[in-house]
Symmetry: C2
Subunit: 120 residues, 2 copies
């Protein structure tokens, strides 16, 4: 079975909800398919929701940081939402501060952040 | 790996995008977890997007019909979006007309249908 992560397009935004632990292969597939969808849809913003992710390892954290940088290069705003305490701790301990990334507590707030950033 | 189908909550609605062929086990898991999320979140509407589904068998069609009936019993409006030609053909040939179900061509239109139905 294909375990791609669904990417949902609503209006001008893409929504991704990661609801299980990613393995390395799925993470890379996700990276590729998100960039592809950005290209296809001409979306102006992406919300990546991590609410259901309660653990993250260094490889996945790197892929996540990379996909954010890549999306930015493509001209898209990215907001990360729902980062759990353990994930925040791991990210900082790994030295991954995701400093230029907008974050928000949940999907609704993430969408608001995006709309504010994009001046909609 | 867990292959649950992500269910995204945005405002008062749940969004589900089915982006691969469901096997029987995943379909039943989906049924259970959607009903659970409806209960937890108190959502008033659900959009199930089938844009990426290009084939459906009788079991999956039945599970889909069931989950719609069950959601309705729980007091939730359901809209199906993005039904492809082959899926529409299969559904009708199987005698599953989903007559009381609202459908829409894409996610945006589905959301509009839901808002209209719910009088938002």
């Amino acid at each position: 079975m294909n375990t791609r992560i669904p990417i949902l397009k609503l209006y001008d935004y893409l929504f991704v909800s990661i609801q299980w632990e990613l393995d390395d292969k799925t993470a890379l597939q996700f990276q590729e398919s998100l960039l592809q969808r950005i290209h296809e849809t001409g979306a102006s913003g992406v919300v990546i929701d991590l609410t259901s992710v309660d653990m993250i390892d260094s490889f996945i954290a790197k892929v996540l940081g990379d996909v954010i940088s890549m999306s930015k290069l493509m001209g898209v705003k990215v907001v990360l939402t729902g980062i759990q305490p353990a994930v925040a701790i791991t990210l900082v301990e790994l030295g991954i501060h995701l400093q230029d990334v907008h974050t928000a507590i949940d999907l609704e707030k993430g969408l608001e952040t995006l709309q504010r950033e994009l001046g909609d």
